[in-house]
Amino acid sequence: MTHDDNHIEDIDCTEAIGHLYAYLDDEIDDMESLAKLENHMKHCKSCFTRSEVERALSGRIQKAAKSHAPASLQNRLRDLIQKF
């Protein structure tokens, strides 16, 4: 634990997990909450591991759900826009 970590109030696992998805989505604006969560994960193997799993799963979901517009649609849209 660094000297700075001593000044950060610890949170429990339930609170950490409650903020985890917002953390992974980069949606925590409150710097104090962010510091508490990151501090907790430095010391809690379970929450850190969970965070890594969620991050990996999120990446797999993003990759799997990406689609490519078929050529028929691409041509259809170009023709449509041409007529505007």
Partner: protein
């Protein structure tokens, strides 16, 4: 005292009208060029969202084409060109609700937010929070175990099985990278709703993947008892 209109005045008026026409054409050309370029850039994304909403490639293509036509008609309402993507997503989502949802083979599940399946959530929360460290290490060994064995097909099936509100939110945030505020704007809900839908949508997604993994034998009973 009124001054007689001279030939010079008339020429000025005609010239002003020509300039207005040229300006209008140039503006329209610029707008059309911007629109065309933006559609090219977002084509894959809007098709992806349409496909997850309609669950049918032919309907997805029709939905995208209809949305693009509506977007062009409403181009003047786009205040900030930097926000073209969420603006177009919103048009597509509205178009889906008004014209395509009724075609859906499955009943819509929009009331899911108000009557969530607490049992399902409790189950996955219990799995994800209360497990022992040993179990977590097994679960969390993505290089060798669970996550790498999840095929794209499993994930797509799990997404398609999500209720519509969660499916759309997960697509917008997780797949398309919109912020909670942008997703809220697209779906006309408060940002807090996006936050809760992301939590619950992911939980449901994990539960679905978990069930699939058990069905396919990726998770064995003796591993669950560790």
């Amino acid at each position: 005292m009124a001054r007689e209109c001279t030939i010079s005045d008339h020429r000025h008026a005609v010239l002003a009208r020509h300039l207005e026409t040229i300006s209008f054409i140039m503006k329209k050309d610029n707008t059309k060029e911007f629109f065309s370029r933006s559609i090219e850039e977002t084509m894959d994304s809007i098709y992806g969202l349409a496909l997850r909403l309609t669950r049918n490639p032919a309907d997805a293509e029709d939905l995208v084409a209809e949305s693009v036509a509506r977007a062009w008609s409403a181009i003047e309402s786009l205040d900030d060109k930097q926000r073209f993507r969420p603006w177009l997503f919103r048009i597509l989502h509205n178009c889906f609700i008004s014209d395509y949802r009724k075609k859906s083979v499955r009943p819509n599940e929009t009331s899911y937010d108000e009557s969530p399946d607490k049992n399902g959530e409790d189950e996955i929360v219990a799995l994800m929070i209360n497990q022992s460290d040993d179990f977590m290490h097994w679960w969390a060994n993505p290089e060798k175990e669970f996550i790498n064995q999840l095929l794209g097909e499993n994930i797509l099936k799990a997404i398609e099985n999500l209720p519509e509100a969660f499916r759309t939110t997960v697509m917008l945030v997780n797949v398309e990278g919109l912020s909670y505020d942008e997703a809220a704007e697209v779906l006309c809900v408060p940002p807090g709703t996006i936050h809760s839908r992301m939590k619950r949508g992911r939980t449901l997604l994990q539960k679905e993947l978990w069930d699939q993994a058990k069905e396919e034998g990726l998770i064995l009973d003796n591993q669950l008892q560790r």
